[in-house]
Every structure is written in C-alpha cells, then in structure tokens.
C-alpha cells in the first residue's frame, strides 16, 4: 500500500477518446517519471556494437544515469566518463579537455577497443564545441580506432533529430565503403528478429544474407553490415540511419514499419518482395493463425478490461484497434503524444469505441494515479506503465514490441496475453529492470 507524503491524492486526469485532440491530447507542464524502466536508452543502444567502448562527457548529474545503466548491466569495463565543473564551460578549453581525457582513458586501458563512441552533452553543443576537430585529433592520435560522434542532448530534443534517432544514425557511421554482396540489414531495432518472423523468412528464402546488429558478436561482424545492399528499418526512429547509409554507402533504404494492421503488414511484405525480386508468399495461413491466436487471447481474458501504454509497442493505437476489433476490451490507453503514423488508428477508435479513456503518463498529477486508483488487478495490462498505473500483476511485459513483427508478431503477442492472463508477474521487480532484455544485476 502506498504511503502518502503530502497533499490530497488527486483524481485521475484521463479523458474519453471522443474528446481527445490529435496529436497532443494533454497540455504539457511539469513532468513525472513513473517507475517502469524497460525502455532502452542511448547506453543500451550503443552497447549493441560489439567491443565498442563509450566515453561520456557531461555534468555529474547527467553522467549518473548512463553510468548506473552500465553498472546494472555489469558492463563498466565498456564505459568511461569525464565530468564538467563550473569553471570548465567558460574557459575555452573544452575541446582540448575532451581530447586529453580520451587520451588518458585509452592509455589506462589494457586493450585498445576497435571503436569508441564519444558522447557530448547539451552543455557542449550550447557552448559551440567543435566536435569535428576533436574527432580529427583523436583519429590522428589513435590510428585504427573508429571514433564516433555521439550525443546525449535531451535539451535539444525538439531542435532537429532527437537523441535516440541520432544514436541509431551515428552507430552506423563506422561502416566503410566496400563491395556489396547483396545482403540485407535490419537496422535501428534493439532485438534480432527470430527465424519464425515472416520478414526473416522472406529475406532468407530469397537467398540473401541477413544481418542484424543484435546478433553480431564481434566488431568485424558489425563492419560486415557494410557489404549489404539493402537496409530495412521498422521504426521511425531508425529512418535517419537508413537515409544516412543510403546517401553515404549507396545501401537502399526500405522502411517497413511495425504494424498491427493485417493489410499494412501485407503491404510491407509486398514492398520487400518487390525489392528482393521474389514472389509474394501466400500469407493466408499466417493470417488465420494470427486471428485464432487473438481469439484465444480474448477467451483467456474473458471480458476483463484491458489497458495499454505507449511504451509497449510502436503505434499503440493501431495495436489497440487490433485488440478491440478482435474482442479484447481495451478501456484505457496511456499515451502522451500521438504519432502521425498512428493517426488513422486513433481516429478509428475515436469513431468506433468513443468510451475508451486515454491518460497521460508524464503529467504531474499522474504521480498519484496508481495510489488513487489502487484496486489491485482490476485491469489486464499490456506494457509496463499500464501495469504500474493500473496496479496489476496480470500484464504482458512488452517494450517497443520486442521482436513482435508481422503476423508472427501478432501471434507471439496474443500468446503472451493468454499466458499473462493466467500467470501473474511480480510487477514491481519486473518493471524496474532497465532496458528490456538487457542483462541486469538487479
């Protein structure tokens, strides 16, 4: 039971979807951080590059999060840092200090890494630090090491490309120009798709080599991604990476977004088959399997109200539309902003299910939502934040759709629903692990 620290608990501040405005249904303001930690951050993403080392330059307060993320992954041998003091940002020596710090760190390493991701912060960009000069000097000092410009700049999240898409773009900068072997990369996604995924099957059946970064075990294997002639991205945050590689290395970029809509899934596969020059397989069996899995999930829930949050999957409204149209009673959606890609599904739910409630996750009053709403296990949840806010141990522990793609992904997600409806989880323990699927010492 929660203990109240002060003030009266405020009532939940949700609205019926019929009243919600696209794209921001709620006013901004002070922000709260719910204790659901499965999202990936730039540290988790950067560590996907095998053998790469990360060095962060920022204020102590900003360092803390990335250092602790790494410590929890038991990967402190892959991260170094230097912090800025009051006197540093105005003394005109920022570039030299960064170069000297990286030099000191490398000198203290037993083995020189093949790649170093150098992260600068909001303060450096604000002070107009010349990142190119830093990288040029480091490359001249340490031949054979790929230095990559990376950014931890949350203050600049609305000024151009936000930090996570920037990270996905920068992490492929070391890929060199090389002869192509016709292979296919899936880039900008945190988990490798399994053999059962239709995307994987189409690519492999075409005779092409499939390369996925989460499956790489060495830096050399990562560099071989440069040999592919096609890059597939499945989330909008990865598009900048695809575009950069298309421009720089001539690798064609194909955006096949994660979808929970049967027709859009088939459109993705059509586009892929066209690109690969192969015939579109017949997916009627996969479609039927997906429908049956959804039917089984609805049966397992037996009319129980469901809640979904935006961290569970890309296009949460499309996911909710799929669930609602297949008999699963979504009553609450937790989301702060609605993406353009999800607008159609948002409008669909607005028209056909106007009583569905939507709630923000970061609004200051949401601090008291769980404690004010505190009846345990009244809802079934998909996503960690929905589980937290609705105080339920019956939830699908899904972040960023985690490997669920296409009809196979819908089957996997529906099976997780059926399983979670029967088997409660230790909510508090599960949702506090950072970076879903990453190693954790907790």
């Amino acid at each position: 039971m929660l203990k109240k620290a002060g003030g009266e608990l405020t009532k939940p501040c949700g609205i019926k979807i019929a009243q919600a405005e696209f794209p921001r249904p709620f006013a901004g303001g002070l922000e709260y951080s719910p204790p659901a930690r499965g999202d990936w951050n730039i540290v988790h993403i950067g560590l996907l590059i095998p053998q790469a080392h990360q060095i962060y330059f920022c204020a102590q307060g900003c360092l803390r999060g990335v250092v602790q993320t790494t410590a929890e992954m038991d990967a402190m041998d892959r991260l170094s840092w230097a912090y800025l003091c009051d006197e540093d940002y105005a003394d005109g020596n920022m570039e030299q200090n960064i170069i000297d710090s990286v030099t000191q760190v490398i000198k203290r390493m037993e083995q020189r890494p093949p790649c170093i991701l150098v992260f600068l912060s909001c303060m450096h960009l604000f002070a107009g630090v010349d990142f190119d000069i830093i990288i040029e000097e480091l490359e001249s000092r340490f031949a054979g090491v790929d230095f990559v410009k990376c950014y931890m700049t949350p203050t600049m999240r609305f000024s151009g490309l936000p930090p996570v898409p920037t990270m996905y773009r920068q992490m492929f900068v070391p890929l060199p120009e090389t002869a192509k072997d016709g292979g296919v990369n899936i880039i900008g996604y945190n988990w490798a798709f399994e053999e059962s995924c239709e995307l994987v099957r189409i690519i492999k059946n075409s005779g092409r080599v499939l390369r996925q970064l989460p499956g790489c075990v060495s830096y050399q294997q990562y560099l071989e991604m440069a040999k592919s002639s096609l890059n597939i991205t499945v989330i909008p945050e990865a598009s900048a990476a695809g575009e950069e590689l298309e421009q720089r290395l001539g690798q064609k970029h194909l955006y096949l977004p994660v979808s929970w809509d049967f027709e859009k899934i088939k459109d993705n596969y059509k586009a892929l088959c066209r690109e690969l020059g192969v015939e579109m397989p017949d997916f009627s069996e996969a479609e039927n399997k997906a429908r049956k899995a959804l039917e089984a999930a609805a049966k397992a829930l037996d009319g129980e109200p469901a809640a979904v949050d935006f961290t569970a999957a890309h296009k949460p409204f499309e996911l909710c539309a799929l669930l609602l149209d297949n008999g699963i009673g979504v009553r609450r959606i937790f989301v702060d902003v609605i993406s353009e890609e999800d607008r159609g599904a948002f409008e669909h739910i607005k028209e056909h299910y106007p009583d569905v409630e939507i709630f923000p996750t970061a609004d200051s009053s949401m601090r008291f939502f769980a404690s004010a709403d505190g009846e345990e296990n009244r809802y079934f949840a998909i996503g960690q934040r929905a589980a937290y806010f609705c105080c339920t141990d019956y939830f699908v522990d899904m972040v960023g759709a985690r490997g669920c793609y296409g009809f196979d992904g819908i089957v996997a997600m529906a099976e997780q629903i059926a399983d979670a409806a029967r088997n409660p989880k230790d909510r508090r323990t599960v949702i506090q692990h950072k970076g879903a699927g990453c190693q954790s010492c907790l």
């Binding site: 620290a5 709260y32 602790q68 991260l79 230097a82 203050t155 970061a362």
Partner: protein
C-alpha cells in the same frame, strides 16, 4: 581541470541530493532540466519512489526556452501544478543548462511564491556538484525555515542528514533511534527520513543533534546558532564506537559544544594499509568502529565534499580515479563500495560496503545495517 574515470562509477549530483532530502516532507521539488532527466534520480537514487508518494518533477526544459530565456513557462507550469497538488512548500533546483544561461533562481522563487502563495525556496544546484552539496543546502533551508522551538527543552536527540543516498533504508534510521533510546535519549525529529514537516516545529527543543552524514552538518550549525543546540557528528557503527558515540552525546549536552566523533581517530600514520573509502561521516565512523574493535589503525579516503573538521590525521581527500588507484596500490585492505573494486590491487583484501549514492540500486539488498552491531569484518 580534467576529472575522468576509466572504469569506476560516479557519485550522484546535487539535484538528487535536494530531491532525496526533501522527498518525504510534502513539498514539491522541481528540477529545471530537460524531459527525462528526472528518471535518473527516480530510478537509481530513490528507493522510496515505488512505495511512497512525493512531488518530485522536472520542468522539461527545451533549447528554445533556454536560449530565449522563457522563464514564464517554468513559472506557469510550477504554479499550475502547485495549484492542482497543494504542496506544503516548493523547492526549485538548477541544472547545467540554466547554470550556463544564468537563470536567476532567487528571482524565480520570489515570483512563484508571490503568484501562488506557497513558500518557495531556490536551491542553487547546477548538476555539477555532488549530492552532499545539494542535500546540505536543502537541510540548511529546513533548519532555517521550518525548525522551531516551544522553549521546553526535552531530553531528545534529533538526527540530521539522513537520506537513502547514505543510509539506504528506514530500517537503518530505526536502528539509530533504538540505539539513542538505549543511550537514554528520547526521539526527536529526523531530517529527513520518517519525520514530517510538523515534527520540525519542535526541533529546537532537543538537547542535541546527531549528524549522521556530511549533508547534515550545515543544518546542525544553523540549529546551534538558532537554538544553541550542540551537535555530535558520527554514526554508531559497531558496538564499541556506538558506546563511545553515546558518551560523546552526553558530553556534548553537558558541555554545550560540538564533537566530531567520527574524526577522533588520533594521528594515523599515512602509510597505514587499511582504508575505508567514501562519504566522510560514514567512512570515519566505520574506521573508528573497526579501530576500536580490532585495535588496528585505519585511515579514511574521503571521496566527497569534506570540510576540514571531518578529516583526521593520516586521512586523504581524493576524488579522481587515477589518484585513488595510486593510493589503493599502497593498501592491503580496501573497504569501499563494490564499484571501486576494479581499481583496487588484486592482492589486497577488498571488503564491499555498498553506498547508494555511488552504486545506486545495484547492491541495495547487500547494504548492511551496522548500527550498534558487532562488526563482522575480517581484516
């Protein structure tokens, strides 16, 4: 100045110190920083986040607001949330970007207070100092603004400087209360675990203040100045030091003076090969506890803000990894947070004592309660 580390962790920063110090008191703390920056504190530095409601928020600062000096959005957002949530006070904290743009937090606090009628306190953090600095300022503010006295002196002791960053769990604070009772004292208030803002109204009635971390020292000095209350600095770690510390409190009460018990370790030779590493009051108290238990000399390496009064002869104050590694190389026994282990010599004995402000929640379940306990450390 270059302050870098190849492999060790870093201490949490001043903003977390403020948030941790003020967490339980029904106030609203707003860190003027970018969206997402509050998750670091909530995830790694705050074990109460899941169990106990609070009002700790971030302003979601953007580049355009920082560049254009759009303080109005910050003021409006704070006032709007305050109206909705009704906090007992508001504290506003700076972070690196407002520090660069020279945001005037004194002025912002004044405007917010005049608009919403709630006491508002500026915290002069910038995200570039350690948590000790932030928590110290917050505790000092509490001592100045919220502590009072009825004029009836009680045979009570207050605890100053308690946050989970140093003590991790309420259970450890409860052990201190139990030990104080054994020493013959009543329970005063605790700044700031397990007490309410109302409890501070009689803080000045206590006979003595016990400072359990460096963060509580400034508040102790304010209470000494305001109410004449003496203070003693130390944590009762180990049975022997617990007895000595209890006696020190009685002496401080009688002599109306302050005693920094954790630093009363005599002149230790600088080549003493056993070191305790970390926050000054905890490390100094543990060192004294071990010395009294084993009869062997122990030095302290202070890795955070430490005033001269907390440093004993033979101690060193070191914050940088390379210098720490050099110092550790001279040692046969290092007692420190586990995330210091990679720079301890392989042939030295390493005794892990996790410290939440350094290793966050990584080893939280292994943080021992050594208050008034027989020290089982094998050196």
């Amino acid at each position: 100045m270059i302050h870098y580390a190849r492999i060790i962790s870093c201490y949490t920063a001043d903003t977390s110190g403020v948030c941790s110090a003020l967490y339980e008191l029904g106030g609203m703390v707003v860190v003027h920083d970018a969206s997402g920056c509050n998750s670091t504190y909530a995830t790694h530095d705050e074990p109460r986040w899941y169990d106990m409601d609070s009002m700790i928020y971030v302003s979601a600062l953007t580049e355009i607001d920082a560049v254009m000096g759009n303080d109005e959005r910050f003021i409006n957002d704070v006032c709007r949330s305050a109206e909705k949530l009704g906090p007992k006070f508001i504290a506003i904290c700076g972070s690196p970007m407002p520090a660069m743009t020279g945001t005037d937090f004194d002025a912002l606090a004044s405007v917010i207070q005049s608009r919403c009628g709630i006491p508002t306190h500026p915290m002069h953090t910038n995200g570039m100092k350690s948590y000790v600095s932030g928590a110290s300022e917050a505790f000092e503010m509490l001592a100045r603004c919220y502590c009072g006295s009825t004029g009836n002196v009680k045979n009570a002791v207050n605890i100053l400087g308690a946050t989970p960053l140093d003590l991790s769990r309420q259970e450890i604070v409860d052990s201190i209360w139990a030990w104080l009772k054994k020493c013959g004292f009543e329970k005063g208030c605790c700044m700031a675990m397990g007490s309410s803002l109302d409890d501070y109204k009689t803080a000045g009635d206590a006979r003595c203040n016990l400072v359990v971390s460096s963060s509580g020292l400034r508040a102790a000095k304010v209470l000494q100045e305001r109410f004449g209350t003496p203070y003693v600095v130390g944590l009762p770690l180990g049975e022997e030091f617990a007895v000595a510390l209890g006696e020190d409190i009685h002496r401080a009460v009688e002599g109306k003076t302050e005693i920094v018990s954790c630093a009363l370790r005599g002149e230790i030779c600088a080549d003493c090969k056993t070191v305790v590493v970390g926050e000054s009051v905890y490390a100094g108290s543990l060192a004294r506890g071990i010395m009294m238990h084993t009869g062997k000399p122990v030095r302290v390496i202070h890795t955070l803000d430490a005033g001269g009064e907390l440093i004993a002869g033979g101690d060193r104050k070191i914050t940088d990894e390379d210098k720490l590694e050099e110092e550790f190389a001279k040692c046969s026994c290092v007692i420190a947070d586990p995330l210091f282990k990679p720079i301890a010599p392989a042939n030295a004995k390493f005794v892990p004592i996790p410290h939440e402000a350094f290793s966050g929640r990584c080893f939280r379940k292994n943080i021992p309660d050594l208050v008034d306990k027989k020290l089982g450390l094998e050196l």
